[in-house]
Each structure stands twice: as structure tokens, then as C-alpha cells.
Symmetry: C2
Subunit: 326 residues, 2 copies
């Protein structure tokens, strides 16, 4: 059985070896650059791990695994344009390093390459894999649109928020796992459970991300905390607080969610917002929700018709995602 570190190393190698034309360089250099600035490669690792868990040589799932990673990177590349982001994984974003048009077009070319790899499987698996992928890719677009819509609106329920993050990030985790299961000829029921495992794990992971952005230990989290609060992002914490806040706290939240430029005011904005979160016990509620989604994920994994020893790698992989701050 492969350790996921081995999977990750092999995925990196395959991404470097990826067959791409060279001409015109303005199209292909940004793709090589973007695929080369790192990332945890958790999605393709999940594909290979699921394939192996269901008893099939994981390397048979390498093409769709790479395609899914490239699709993920394509969405990041286009999201960076929409978010006017200047950095991605501590490197300059493509639309700044080159320009907007090159970022749009090299993103489009990545998407084609992703589709090419995802459909590079044996003919018997093509239809279910493509059906799953296209359904997922549409949802990812919907999730990104909802995320953009929510920026301009305070009155989002946490249910709407969970729906948005499910589409924007979690469905792709489910899709990556189920793709590995399809290659391994898993039963329809097991395919459904591994998908649900990934979906719920993805939601729990996003909730943890919201928590760490506000409460993480910067040295362990890897970046300064409070970024979401400063950029007025409507996270689970903020929306839950807004739902439960008294009229005066709502006013405070509305007031705080404005533009702040001075550094001193920034830290006050963060601490005032955290005071409201804490008073309403929002961190506990987030942990409770995270726990529920994580448990639900594990229930789906438990049901899968494989011996427990086969599930060890995927279980450890899931756990490793949740040990980032401590």
C-alpha cells in the first residue's frame, strides 16, 4: 500500500512531465508556472487513494487524477482574476505576472487539458467519469458565482453559506474520490458513500479554515489571522454571529464591516469583531458544526464495503487535514 506522500511525489513528477505544446509560449508558460508553484495536491491524492482502497492499482487513476488537479488550478487561476488577487501560494498571480487576457486564455487551455486527461481512461469508465466531472464542474462555477454574489449581501443564512462552500470546494473533493472508485469498479452504493465522505469532509475542512483564519496560531496556520474579518468576508463565523446578534450587535457588525486602512484600526476591527463572536459563543458553534460534518463523513466511510485495514490510509489522510493549527 502506498503512503500518500508517495502519491504526492509521483503526482508532482507527472505534472512536470505533462505533455503540453511549447508554441505559443505566452499560452503555455503561464500554465507551467501555475502548476509549478505548489499546492498540497490533495485532490489527486484522494483519487489515487480511493482507487487503491477499492483494490485497484492506483496508477490506473493517474490521468483523471492529474486532470482533476489541473481543473482545480484552472478554477484558481480564473478566481484570481475575479478576486483581483496579487498572490497565490506566495507567488505572483498570472494576471499580474503576465496580463488579464493571458490569464483568461491560459486558464481556458488548462481546462481543455484537464478534460483531455479526465477522459483519458479506458472506454468502459469514460461515461460515468465524464458525467460526474461535468456535473461537478458546473456546480463549481455555480459556487464561485454564489461566492461573488454573497460579497454584496449581508443577509445570507448559514445554510446558504454551506450550500455555497459545498459547490465551490466540497463537490470536487467528492468527485475526486468517486473518480478513483469508478476506476476501481466500486459498486454504485460504495461510489455514493465515498462521494458523500468527500463532500462532508470538504465542508468540515472549509469550516475549519474559517475558524483558523480568525483564531489560528499564525506560526502554525502559515499566515496572519484576521484576514477574512479585514476583507469583510461573510464566513460561517460572521454569518452565524449576524444571525444571532442583538439589534445593537448587528449594528456593530454592519459598522465594522466597512473599509479600514490604518494598521491600528485594523487590529481594533479584528478584536472588536472577535469580541462579538466570542460573546455569542460562535467558535463553539462552528466547532460543533465542523464536528457534525466530519462525523457524517466518517459514517459514510464506515459503511463502505471494504475491510477496515483498507480504509486506514484514507482515514489518516482525512485526519491530517484537520491537524493544521495544533
Amino acid at each position: 500500500m502506498q503512503k500518500h506522500g508517495n502519491f504526492r511525489g509521483r503526482i508532482e513528477e507527472e505534472l512536470i512531465k505533462l505533455q503540453l505544446n511549447d508554441y505559443p509560449p505566452e499560452l503555455y508558460e503561464p500554465i507551467r508556472y501555475f502548476l509549478g508553484i505548489g499546492g498540497k495536491r490533495i485532490r489527486p491524492v484522494f483519487t489515487l487513494t480511493a482507487c487503491e482502497m477499492f483494490g485497484t492499482d492506483p496508477w490506473l487513476a493517474m490521468n483523471p487524477a492529474l486532470g482533476l488537479e489541473i481543473f482545480h488550478n484552472f478554477t484558481l487561476l480564473h478566481d484570481d482574476i475575479m478576486d483581483n488577487a496579487s498572490l497565490r501560494r506566495s507567488s505572483q498571480t498570472v494576471h499580474l505576472k503576465w496580463n488579464r487576457d493571458i490569464a483568461i486564455l491560459s486558464g481556458d487551455a488548462m481546462f481543455v487539458k484537464a478534460f483531455q486527461l479526465i477522459s483519458s481512461v479506458d472506454p468502459g469508465h469514460m461515461k460515468p467519469i465524464i458525467d460526474l466531472f461535468t456535473k461537478t464542474a458546473i456546480e463549481v462555477c455555480e459556487g464561485q458565482q454564489l461566492d461573488m454574489n454573497f460579497e454584496h449581501c449581508n443577509h445570507i443564512s448559514t445554510d446558504q453559506y454551506i450550500d455555497m462552500i459545498s459547490k465551490k470546494t466540497s463537490v470536487l473533493i467528492g468527485c475526486c474520490l468517486e473518480t478513483g472508485a469508478i476506476i476501481a469498479n466500486a459498486s454504485v452504493s460504495d461510489r455514493e458513500h465515498i462521494y458523500r465522505f468527500g463532500l462532508n469532509l470538504g465542508i468540515a475542512f472549509q469550516l475549519r479554515d474559517d475558524y483558523l483564519d480568525a483564531y489560528g496560531i499564525p506560526e502554525k496556520f502559515g499566515k496572519k489571522t484576521g484576514g477574512d474579518i479585514l476583507s469583510d468576508k461573510k464566513t460561517f463565523l460572521w454569518l452565524k454571529a449576524y444571525e444571532q446578534a442583538s439589534a445593537s450587535d448587528r449594528k456593530n457588525l454592519d459598522r465594522l464591516a466597512g473599509n479600514v486602512s490604518e494598521e491600528q484600526e485594523q487590529s481594533k476591527k479584528i478584536s472588536d469583531t472577535l469580541d462579538i463572536f466570542n460573546r455569542l459563543k460562535i467558535p463553539d458553534q462552528l466547532k460543533e458544526a465542523e464536528h457534525q460534518y466530519f462525523s457524517l463523513a466518517m459514517q459514510h466511510l464506515d459503511i463502505i464495503d471494504q475491510p477496515e485495514t483498507k480504509k486506514t490510509v484514507i482515514r489518516k489522510l482525512a485526519d491530517s487535514l484537520f491537524t493544521r493549527e495544533a
Copy 2:
């Protein structure tokens, strides 16, 4: 045998009936809008016509035909952002009617929908159709990048220009025809010939477009002539003239290819440029090149192993593309 007018009508109906989600509307309304502002639908008509020519019920090719039309529209939508275009088929472009981010993302969603439809064929045809489509889609991205590169460079040979227009527009015509042939189980040789027919026809068509933009009768061409000259587009006419011009005419061409804002100067820019084209007999050279590509297309059609009566519709369709100005 269907007339292509029937095909076009049916394609319009199918595009209106297209299964798309409704939520979020910011994602789907631009797609409905863009697919609704018209277009000749020549690409899907070619797919259905080729399928019928090879003796198979053309409606079996409807899904990939629609997918290819949607892919074409996706490229137009993203091109409009890159070209800062304000109008598309006399309607406002998506990035102006909504905004840039919505145009990027609804384009991406169209691309997914295109993949979904193109791969919605019976399992035996999936692999060749997807292989052909992904190869083509990559070339279309390359063609668009080359087109953007050429804007900033006068020293493009006409060979490089033909390579660019082949990729940007003609390969998709070839792909549309070959897709119909694949559905109809045409032989590998016939598939190759119908592809080459489309490729060369597409090049001839683009050359005719260059000619009409400069020399067309506005009432029949449907828009004012001289647009390419005013926007300093490096068309076949311009590049051929630049290749053959004397040192002083090159200077004139370089001088003319600058920014002109006054209306009076605009018409002088057009007439001065046309004077150089005419003196060098560029229109005749363009017609000669167009004729060569058109003849080559017809040679490929001639070789195809089908009775002449079967080829009539596609021949008429090809001819109809070249009777726009007179």
C-alpha cells in the same frame, strides 16, 4: 434529405430548450442571452449535414452539434472580453451588459456545458469524438493567443497568418464535420478528407472575410467596410502588401497603421491603404489564394467515398458561404 435551413431551425429550437439550471441567475442568464442573439449556426449545421451525407440519421449527431456551437459561443464570449468589444451580433457584449467577472465565469460554465453535450454520444463514439474535440479546442486557444500576439507585431508572414486563422477558426469547422462523420461510422480515410475539406474551406472563408471587410459592398456585407484597416488589423491583405511593398510603401503602411480619430482622416486612412493594396494587386492575390484553398477543399470532398448525390447538400452549403457580397 434535410435542407440545411431545416437543420438550422431545429438547432435553434434545441438551443432554446437547452437544459440549464436557473440558479444562480447571474451565471445562467448571460448564457441564455448569448446563445439567443443569433448567429448562422453554421458549425452544428455542418455536423448534422456530414452525418447525413455518410448515411446516418443526422439527429443522432444533435448533442455534439449543439456542444460544438456552444463551444464556439464560449470562445466568442471570452474573446469579446480580451478584445474589449462592445457589440456582438449588434447586441451588447456580456462583459458590458453584466460585468467582466460574470463574462469569465458564465463563459467557463458554457465550456462545461459544451463538453457535456459533445461527450453525450453513444459509448463507442466517445473516445474519437473527445480526442478530436480536445485537440481542436487546444488549437483554438493557440490561435487566439497568436492573434493577440500578432496585434503587436508587423513582421508576420502570410504563412504565419494562415497558420493563425487555421487554428483560430478553421480547425473547428473541420472538427464539426468530422464529428458528424464519426457518428456516422465513416472510414478513417473519409473522416480525414471531410476534416481537410472543412479546414481548407474555413481558410478560404476567412480570406474572403478579409477581402469583404476592405472591398465588400456595405449594403450586402452587412457592415461598413474598412473596419480592419481602421483597427490596424494584420489581415492577409495588409501582410501581403507589407511583404511586397517597396521601402517607401512600407513606410507609408507603418505610418498609416497609427491611431486616427477624426472621421475625415479615417476615410483617408482607408483610401490611402487601399491605394497601396491596389497598386500591388493584392486583391487579385487574395482571390488566387482563396481559390486555391477552396479548390483544395473541393478536392477532399471529391475523394470521399460517397455518391455525388449525397454530397450535393454539403456542396451547396459551402457555396452559400461564398455568395455574401454579390
